[in-house]
């Protein structure tokens, strides 16, 4: 949850441009020597990486290793200390972002239909009614996530897995070429994970770039061809089988133990 009046303060501040947009080849996200520093510690240092469109990436790493910070930096919500992020052939508003589930109030008085309709906000704007075609799209999205008859159901009546399906339906409606998922399967049952993973594969077939922050390495091994292993200054990128090796995971654990021993209680990335 964003703090209420700090976002109020944000609008008085001139935002630095974090993300640069370019036209060129290959389309995707290029990260050059990215460093993000919080007052107490450096969370990402010297990260250079490239995500192509289309492809499917997992970001794996310990708590506080900079996974969410990286997504926030890519979204322009977090100012990097040094380095550059370049979006080739798409602009920041073409990114669809699924935040961690605990950031949303599941008792908020909206129906499933209201919630997924947000995905069309850029199309309909503030005043316009939803057209018949758009309503059709909404119904189709609900069917795709297996909630065909739930349009009028209040959010608070949903289980954790169903709630996550709703958020995926909203992502479908956003129809974005780049999709970021921050721990999308935390607290979600295995059947829902299987269904939602199918959807993720469909997105990649539709020529989108999907980047997911995940904890479950078995799931990553099974479904994700590419992985970025991120533990602050230590990172490995590339095909999952080459990245998720015992040696790499061991050095990731050692790095994270080193900083935990040094800092104790610090803010988490």
């Amino acid at each position: 949850m964003e703090h209420a009046s700090s976002s109020f303060w944000n609008i008085f501040q001139k935002k630095h441009k974090v993300v640069h947009c370019e036209v060129g080849d290959p389309p995707g996200i290029e990260i050059k020597n990215l460093t993000v520093t919080y007052p107490q510690n450096t969370v990402i240092s010297g990260l250079t990486c490239h995500f192509d469109i289309p492809s499917l990436w997992a970001i794996v790493g310990p708590n506080g290793g900079g996974k969410s910070t990286l997504l926030r930096a890519l979204l322009g919500l977090q100012q990097p200390t040094t380095g550059k992020v370049i979006f080739r052939n798409f602009c920041p508003c073409d990114v669809a972002y699924l935040a961690q589930q605990n950031q949303l109030d599941r008792r908020f008085p909206l129906t499933v239909g209201d919630t997924i309709a947000m995905g069309l906000f850029r199309e309909v704007g503030i005043f316009r009614r939803y057209t018949k075609e758009q309503r059709g799209k909404m119904q189709a999205a609900l069917e795709q996530v297996g909630l065909a008859s739930f349009a009028k159901t209040p959010l608070q009546a949903l289980s954790g897995g169903q709630f996550q399906r709703v958020l995926f339906a909203r992502l479908i409606l956003q129809d974005a070429p780049v999709i970021f998922l921050d721990e999308p399967f935390t607290g979600v049952d295995t059947r829902t994970i299987a269904d939602l993973m199918k959807l993720v594969h469909v997105w990649v077939q539709e020529k989108r770039l999907v980047i997911a922050v995940l904890h479950d390495t078995a799931l990553v091994n099974e479904h994700f061809p590419n992985t970025l292993l991120l533990a602050r200054q230590f990172y490995r990128k590339g095909s999952t089988e080459k990245v998720l090796t015992k040696a790499n995971i061991q050095s990731m654990i050692e790095t994270s133990q080193a900083w935990e021993a040094m800092i104790g209680e610090g803010p988490h990335g």
Partner: protein, 283 residues
């Protein structure tokens, strides 16, 4: 019956004015309160309402007991406090609620000090607890004007404001000016607190927003129906509060808030999502 429920308002023009002011307040505060609860900003509303006091005190020094002068002062200072707390929580380790609490205690103390050194005890009581029975035409215009403005703005920004309430990150990512809606909403909160301030005083101004809003949460499941319930409860508490205060010679502000409290208590017991019937809502 008629004697009890209607005659007081038919006989006395000051009661009629007070009733009108309450109705106008209720219509504006109802929806704003619901949004405040949904955004989990109750504490911020509390802080803002207390922060209005020193501004109102300065207005009082300049213009005497006039709502426009005190209202303007309150609005300006309330805003400064809200933004300062935001800055403090951004640049220090303090959470926003803690910095708010710090600021509103300071402003409360400052306001009381200004009024008691420059005015009388009676003035202080008026400002702290409100003087709804002394509503004149100017204040009535001001309150109804604020309500009209509030409802119009809410109607215009309804869709993006709700998205911003539910998922603040979402609008920011899709480039939807989330900060601006948040800012407009804060302006509405401050304006309605200023309007409520004459009726209920700075100490209880928030009551007309919060109590009907939390009660409505126990009755309805959609944002529009929450708005309706909340405004309806606020109107009810205004009417019965004034009635009680007339018949029992209770002070009007506390009577209104206590009626709102009574509605809340009853809602807890009998409402569909109240304490006794809570079966469907999952955590």
């Amino acid at each position: 019956m008629v004697d009890f429920f209607i005659s007081p308002f038919a006989d006395y023009i000051f009661l009629r004015r007070a009733l009108m002011a309450c109705m106008a307040l209720a219509l504006g505060c109802g929806p704003v309160g619901v949004l405040l609860v949904l955004r989990r900003m109750s504490l911020m509303g509390d802080a803002l309402s207390h922060a209005i006091l020193p501004g109102a005190a300065i207005g009082f020094l300049i213009g005497g007991l006039s709502l426009p002068a005190m209202g303007l002062g309150g609005f300006v200072v309330g805003f400064i406090v809200a933004s300062l707390s935001g800055v403090i929580s951004r640049f220090t380790i303090l959470n926003e609620d803690a910095s708010f609490a710090g600021f509103y205690l300071i402003s409360l103390a400052l306001g009381v000090l200004i009024i008691s050194t420059q005015g009388s005890q009676v003035d202080l009581m008026h400002i702290l607890f409100g003087t709804i029975l002394a509503v004149d035409n100017t204040s009535l215009f001001m309150v109804t004007g604020i309500t009209t403005f509030t409802l119009c703005i809410l109607a215009i920004i309804y869709r993006p404001l709700l998205i911003e309430c539910f998922d603040p990150g979402f609008l920011r990512v899709i480039g939807g000016w989330g900060g601006m809606y948040h800012f407009l909403f804060l302006v509405l909160v401050a304006l309605n607190l200023v309007a409520a301030f004459q009726a209920l005083g700075t100490l209880m101004a928030l009551g007309m927003m919060m109590l009907p809003a939390v009660s409505s949460r126990l009755w309805a499941r959609h944002v529009w129906s929450l708005f309706l319930f909340s405004s309806f409860f606020a109107v009810l508490s205004g009417y019965f509060g004034l009635l009680l205060s007339y018949h029992l010679e209770w002070p009007s502000g506390p009577s209104i808030i206590l009626m709102a409290g009574l509605i809340y208590g009853v809602s807890l017991l009998i409402a569909p999502f109240g304490a006794l019937k809570r079966q469907q809502g999952r955590d």
